[in-house]
C-alpha cells in the first residue's frame, strides 16, 4: 500500500467580489515509502497549493474549501482535527520551502529554530537538543555546526540557509518530505549541491519525497515517478524514463520541447508552448489544455478527457495523445537526440485542427521504453 494516497484533491478559493478560483481540481497521485515523486508544471498549475493542502497549511475558513482525500498510512490528513495535524506536521510529514531567507525567522538563532522542532516532537531539550541540532547541521553539510547554531539566518549564505531548512525538516525523521521548489532561489552551483543532499538524505533514511518543481532537469536527476500537472489536474503520470523517452500528453511534450538544449543548432529558436496558463478551459467543459494545444480535435471540447491507463504507472489524460516515438524531445534522460526532432506539438506552426488530423489517433497500449 502506498504511503500517501491523494485522491480527487480539490482546493477552491472563494473571495467576495472576486472570481472563484479552483486552484486544484481533482488531483490524484500516490507516493510509496522511500519513493521520490515529482509534481511538475508551470507556475499556477496548483502544485504548491496541493502541497499546502496536504500539510494542512492553507488558511482555514475564509473561503477556502478543500475536498478529496490525502491518506497518509490510512489517516486522511484533510479531515483530522487541528491538534492532531500539529502533531503530524514536522513529525510524520515535513516541508522544505522555496525561499530559504524568508522561510527562516530573522530574529531567532538557527539553533533555536532547529531545537524547537526537536523539543516539540522528540521531547529533546537543553544540551541533548543542542547536540542533536549540531549533528543535524553536520549531516546536511554545514561546517562548524556548533558555531552556526548561535548565528542568525542573515549571517548564513543562501545555500547554508537552505541546508538549515532541510535540517529542520528532517530533524524528526519524517516518513514524507515535501520539497516545494527547494532550489529556485539558489545559484546553479548550489542547486546541484542541494539536490545531491536531498537525494542522499532520501536514500539513507528511506524518507519518501514529493519534489515540486517546474524544472525538468531536477525531475530528470531525482524523481522515480513524475506527475505532470496542468490547470490543477494531473495530465500525465509515468516513471521518469518512459516520461522523458515517450511523453504522451501534448503538454508534457511541450514542456520537454521548451527546454533549451546545448546540442541544438545555432540560431534555432526556443520552442515555447504557445499561449499562457491563463488560457484555460474549465475542466468541466473539456480539456483545459485544449486552447493551447496543437493536437486539438473536436473531441477535446465538450466533456473532460478521461484518464487513460496504458500500463501500470503510466496514465495520461488526453483523447488525442502523442504516439510513442513521434516526439522524442526528452532524450535528456537517454542521451542527445537529433536537434530536429523537437516537440512537434510546440514547433508545429500549422493550425491546431489540421495538425490533429494528420496524426494517427490510436494510442498504442504497450510501452516501448
Amino acid at each position: 500500500m502506498a504511503l500517501l494516497e491523494v485522491e480527487e484533491l480539490s482546493v477552491t478559493f472563494r473571495q467576495r467580489g472576486k472570481r472563484t478560483v479552483r486552484a486544484v481540481d481533482g488531483v490524484s497521485f500516490s507516493v510509496d515509502a522511500g519513493e521520490v515523486v515529482g509534481l511538475v508544471g508551470e507556475s499556477g498549475c496548483g502544485k504548491s497549493v496541493t502541497s499546502l493542502a496536504i500539510m494542512g497549511l492553507l488558511p482555514r475558513g475564509a473561503g477556502v474549501t478543500v475536498e478529496g482525500r490525502a491518506d497518509l498510512d490510512g489517516t486522511n490528513l484533510l479531515r483530522v482535527d487541528r491538534r492532531t495535524m500539529r502533531d503530524i506536521r514536522g513529525r510524520d510529514v515535513a516541508m522544505i520551502f522555496q525561499d530559504p531567507l524568508s522561510s527562516l525567522n530573522p530574529v531567532v538563532p538557527i539553533g533555536r529554530q532547529v531545537t524547537e522542532v526537536l523539543a516539540r516532537h522528540r521531547g529533546l531539550t537543553g544540551d541533548a537538543a543542542r547536540r542533536e541540532a549540531a549533528e543535524l547541521l553536520d549531516r546536511v553539510g554545514i561546517p562548524d555546526p556548533t558555531r552556526r547554531l548561535r548565528e542568525y539566518p542573515h549571517q548564513l549564505s543562501g545555500g547554508m540557509r537552505q541546508r538549515a531548512l532541510i535540517a529542520i525538516a528532517v530533524a524528526c525523521r519524517p516518513r514524507l518530505l515535501i520539497a516545494d521548489e527547494p532550489t529556485t532561489a539558489l545559484d546553479v552551483t548550489i542547486q546541484a549541491q542541494i539536490l545531491e543532499l536531498l537525494k542522499d538524505l532520501v536514500r539513507d533514511s528511506g524518507t519518501a519525497l514529493i519534489m515540486i518543481t517546474h524544472d525538468l532537469g531536477v525531475v530528470a536527476g531525482m524523481c522515480d515517478t513524475v506527475n505532470v500537472l496542468y490547470a490543477g489536474r494531473v495530465v500525465e503520470t509515468a516513471r521518469r524514463r518512459p516520461l522523458f523517452a515517450e511523453p504522451r500528453h501534448p503538454y508534457t511534450v511541450g514542456l520537454l520541447g521548451s527546454i533549451p538544449r546545448l546540442d541544438s543548432s545555432r540560431g534555432e529558436r526556443l520552442s515555447p508552448i504557445p499561449g499562457s496558463v491563463r488560457d484555460v478551459l474549465p475542466w468541466a467543459d473539456g480539456c483545459a489544455f485544449a486552447p493551447r494545444c496543437s493536437r486539438r480535435t473536436a473531441a477535446c471540447v465538450g466533456e473532460p478527457p478521461a484518464l487513460v491507463l496504458t500500463h501500470t504507472e503510466r496514465t495520461y489524460r488526453c483523447v488525442n495523445p502523442v504516439a510513442p516515438g513521434e516526439a522524442r524531445p526528452g532524450a535528456a534522460a537517454q542521451g542527445p537526440a537529433p536537434a530536429t526532432t523537437t516537440a512537434g506539438a510546440a514547433t508545429d506552426g500549422s493550425p491546431a485542427g489540421e495538425a490533429a488530423t494528420t496524426v494517427p489517433p490510436a494510442p498504442r497500449e504497450e510501452e516501448s521504453a
Binding site: 500539529r86 506536521r89 520551502f97 522542532v117
Partner: protein, 334 residues
C-alpha cells in the same frame, strides 16, 4: 556601540541650542510677564518696572540670553521667580511623580494594547477587530483632559472608588526616601502608603494611557498582520509547533520590532502629555508645575524644565535605539 552613544549625545548639543533659542523667543513674546503675575491688576507702572529691573528683564533680549547660556553651561538653571527656590530642586522634587504617572500609563497601555492588537489581527474582520479599531480611533480623538475629567467625575466623585486628586492621602504619614511614592512605601515597608500611592495613580494613569494605548493597539495589529503573512510563520506552522510557540517565538517577537520603537517615542511624549492630566488631578508632578509656571510667567522654571525634558526625551529614545539592536540581530549599532 560606544561611538554611537557618543555621537548621539553630541547631537544633543546643537538640538538643545536651537531649542533654547526658540524657547527664549517664545517666552518673551508671551503677553505680560512675571510682574503681572506677582502684582495682578493693582500694580503701578513704576512697581512693574522695578520688578522687571530686579529680574533683569529690562535688558536687551540678547544680553538676557547670553546670561542664560552662561548659567546653562555651568549647569545652573537659576531660581524660580514664584517659589524663590532653585529650579533644579523644584525639578528633582516633582519629577518622580511624573515618572510614576508616565510609567503607570505606559504599563496600562502596553498590558492592554499588545494583547488587544494581537487578537484584533488574529480575528481580522470580525467583531473584536472592529471594536478595537474603532475604540482606538476614539482613544486618539478624545482629548486627554476631557477623558481625565470624565474619569474623575464618574469614578472619584460619584462612585468614590478612587481618590480624586493628589499623590497620597494627607492622613497617611509616609516617610520620603526617593520621592517615588510607591517605591518609598515599598522601601520603608509602609505597605498602606505604597498601596495608597498606587491607588492615586489609577485614574490619572488611565487618562494618560488613552492615546498611547490606542496607538499601540493599531501598530501591534498592523505589525502582527504583516508578520502573519511571512514565510517563516508558515515554516513554524509546518514544524507542527503549538499555537503558543508560534505566537510567542515567531509572531510576537517579530511583530514587536516596530511596536518597541513606537513605545519609545510615546514614553517621551508622555512626559509632556502629563501636563493636562496632572492639572486635572492636582497631581504634583512636573506637568502641573509647568502649567502653573506658564500662568505666572516663571521664565527660569519654564526654560529649565523644558530643557531637561528635551534631554530626557533624547535619552529615552537613545535607550530604545540601543535596545532595538538587542531584539533584532540584524540591526548592528555603529
Amino acid at each position: 556601540m560606544f561611538r554611537f552613544i557618543v555621537r548621539r549625545l553630541l547631537q544633543l548639543i546643537p538640538a538643545l541650542f536651537g531649542l533654547s533659542i526658540l524657547l527664549f523667543i517664545w517666552l518673551h513674546k508671551l503677553p505680560g510677564g512675571p510682574e503681572s503675575a506677582i502684582l495682578g491688576e493693582r500694580g503701578t507702572p513704576e512697581m512693574r518696572a522695578a520688578i522687571r529691573e530686579n529680574l533683569g528683564l529690562d535688558e536687551p533680549i540678547l544680553v538676557q540670553y547670553g546670561r542664560f547660556m552662561k548659567r546653562m553651561i555651568q549647569l545652573d538653571l537659576g531660581t524660580s521667580i514664584a517659589t524663590k527656590r532653585e529650579v533644579t530642586t523644584e525639578f528633582l522634587e516633582r519629577f518622580p511623580g511624573t515618572v510614576e504617572l508616565a510609567l503607570t500609563a505606559m504599563i496600562i497601555a502596553i498590558a492592554l494594547g499588545i494583547p488587544l492588537g494581537y487578537l484584533a489581527a488574529r480575528r481580522r474582520g470580525r467583531f473584536l477587530d472592529h471594536v478595537s479599531v474603532a475604540g482606538s480611533l476614539v482613544g486618539v480623538c478624545v482629548p486627554v483632559f476631557f477623558l481625565a475629567y470624565v474619569l474623575k467625575a464618574i469614578f472619584a466623585e460619584n462612585l468614590h472608588l478612587f481618590p480624586s486628586s493628589g499623590r497620597q492621602d494627607p492622613t497617611i504619614d509616609a516617610t520620603r526616601v526617593t520621592n517615588f511614592f510607591v517605591l518609598d512605601g515599598l522601601l520603608t515597608r509602609e505597605w498602606d502608603a505604597a498601596a495608597d500611592a498606587l491607588w492615586h495613580l489609577v485614574l490619572p494613569g488611565l487618562a494618560l494611557a488613552s492615546i498611547p494605548l490606542a496607538i499601540i493597539v493599531r501598530i501591534t495589529r498592523a505589525s502582527v498582520l504583516e508578520v502573519l503573512g511571512e514565510d517563516y510563520i508558515r515554516t513554524a506552522e509546518a514544524k507542527g509547533l503549538t499555537e503558543r510557540m508560534v505566537r510567542n517565538r515567531h509572531v510576537l517577537r517579530n511583530a514587536m520590532l516596530p511596536v518597541s520603537t513606537t513605545i519609545g517615542l510615546l514614553t517621551g511624549s508622555l512626559l509632556s502629555g502629563a501636563v493636562l492630566t496632572e492639572t486635572v488631578f492636582a497631581f504634583s508632578g512636573i506637568g502641573a508645575f509647568i502649567a502653573d509656571s506658564i500662568n505666572q510667567r516663571d521664565y527660569p522654571v519654564l526654560m529649565g524644565f523644558i530643557m531637561i525634558i528635551a534631554v530626557i526625551f533624547v535619552l529615552v529614545n537613545l535607550i530604545v535605539d540601543l535596545s532595538y539592536s538587542l531584539i533584532d540581530p540584524r540591526v548592528r549599532v555603529r
